[in-house]
């Protein structure tokens, strides 16, 4: 895929070129929205809104990582949604996690990576739920950094570009997010490896 060429075409108003770019990034965009919002429907809306905003604001794109630029737009769309929720707190984040219900999890488009024996699979699912619970319980600014770096695997520089924050802020927020995650996971000690339990025993 000639990404710079597609971007140039899209900037000239070629919608099909932009649709090709969407095809490349739609899973990453949706996944980020899902991790931030914890709700498949809200994530779907945020992704759609982000792509429309991105196309309309394509003239403002001045080179650099297109993925970072796109992820920044979806992050902003998610921020807007989170702000709306805070103004009208009707549904809690924990109520929106489809992984709580295995059937709903299957229908939500989860890409299960490996299929092992049923017991190990069940344990993996339990751990995934615990991690997602802890992740969704983090304050927004910590969750965003944790999702970008720990879940999606972006480096600090890209996280800094996506969030529009300095590297030092990314570094310190990530450390705090990890510390909170670690503390949160203590509630699921039965799922944790020896390193976690050892600490429990030591304390």
């Amino acid at each position: 895929m000639d990404e710079p060429g597609l971007i140039e075409d899209a900037q000239r108003g070629d919608l099909e070129a932009f649709n090709s770019l969407i095809l490349t990034y739609q899973d990453q965009v949706y996944n980020l929205a899902y991790r931030i919002l914890g709700d498949p429907l809200a994530a779907d809306d945020a992704a759609q809104e982000a792509f429309i905003s991105a196309y309309k604001g394509l003239r403002r794109y001045r080179g650099g990582s297109f993925r970072s630029w796109l992820l920044r737009i979806v992050t902003n769309a998610c921020y807007d949604e989170l702000r709306r929720r805070k103004r009208r707190p009707e549904i809690g984040m924990e109520d929106l996690n489809p992984l709580d219900d295995p059937e709903e999890a299957d229908a939500s488009g989860v890409l299960m990576t490996d299929v092992g024996d049923p017991e190990s699979e069940a344990q993996q699912a339990e751990l995934a739920r615990a991690l997602e619970d802890c992740l969704s319980g983090l304050p927004d600014e910590f969750r965003l950094v944790a999702v970008l770096v720990d879940v999606q695997g972006h480096d600090y520089q890209e996280a800094s570009q996506v969030l529009g924050k300095p590297l030092g802020t990314i570094k310190s927020r990530l450390a705090r997010a990890r510390l909170r995650m670690r503390d949160c996971l203590q509630a699921h000690w039965e799922l944790l490896p020896a390193a976690f339990r050892l600490e429990d025993e030591a304390m």
């Binding site: 969407i22 600090y156 450390a175 990890r178």
Partner: protein, 249 residues
């Protein structure tokens, strides 16, 4: 070491991600070798980040294909060319009107001279009227002389009648060459009949004045129409350009 500071945690977290500089990395590695709490914390963070990275990815529930309606492009697809076409048409019309105006003012030399040419007989008519009143006063005294002059004029060709028109009365002295031959012929013809009729016939002069007024009026009204067209087309062009600029934003 039993307690980790925020700085320790930041360094450990960054070490895990390979985001430390060489000197900081060497420092934390030295501490890790000597501090079991730091070692355990690193193990915990390492396991946790690996677990988070292995969380199942969520596939987009559908293909986010944008349509022209979604981005409001349909309206633009016809609006932009229509605006450009309209702007071009108005610009061409404005250029045409300015061109016409320019040609009118350039040809204005002949057009402007036309009223003067038309005015000449009028002036001539005024002086001929004055001359007529003078000739009426001395009609009986001058009649033979005029008659003789008229008789002489009657026998001359058209060039001679021109000379006759340059008589002391000065009736047609200011007549330009463009003066219609009808106006010139009139005195020559009347001169063959009688002396009082030697004075220019009033009929052609009023006709020339009317024509002058009509032509002048036509020119001024035409110039007015052109000016108004220029103003209106200029304003229209300005508006269309403004709309196009707004549209781009």
């Amino acid at each position: 070491m039993t307690h980790l500071t925020d700085h320790d945690l930041e360094q450990l977290s960054a070490y895990l991600d390979g985001e430390l500089g060489p000197s900081q990395m060497a420092e934390i590695e030295a501490r890790l070798q000597a501090d079991p709490v730091l070692q355990r914390t690193l193990a915990q963070l390492s396991w946790m980040t690996a677990s988070l990275k292995s969380l199942p990815a969520h596939r987009a529930p559908r293909r986010y294909r944008l349509t022209p309606e979604m981005v409001g492009q349909r309206a633009r697809t016809w609006r932009v060319p229509a605006l450009r076409l309209a702007t071009g048409a108005v610009a061409m019309a404005l250029a045409a009107v300015i061109g016409l105006d320019f040609l009118g003012s350039a040809g204005g030399v002949s057009l402007a001279s036309a009223p003067q040419a038309f005015q000449a007989p009028a002036v001539a008519q005024d002086s001929s009227r004055a001359a007529q009143s003078m000739t009426e006063k001395t009609e009986e005294e001058t009649q033979p002389a005029v008659g003789a002059e008229a008789g002489a004029a009657a026998g001359t060709p058209f060039a001679d009648s021109l000379r006759a028109s340059g008589s002391p009365s000065g009736a047609n002295s200011s007549l330009p060459l463009e003066t219609p031959p009808v106006a010139l012929a009139a005195p020559a013809m009347s001169a063959t009949e009688s002396a009082p009729r030697l004075t220019p016939s009033p009929a052609p002069a009023p006709l020339s004045q009317d024509a002058a007024q009509t032509a002048g009026g036509q020119i001024s009204s035409r110039a007015g129409v052109l000016r108004w067209s220029e103003i209106l087309l200029g304003a229209g062009l300005f508006l269309l350009l403004a709309v196009q600029i707004m549209n781009r934003r």
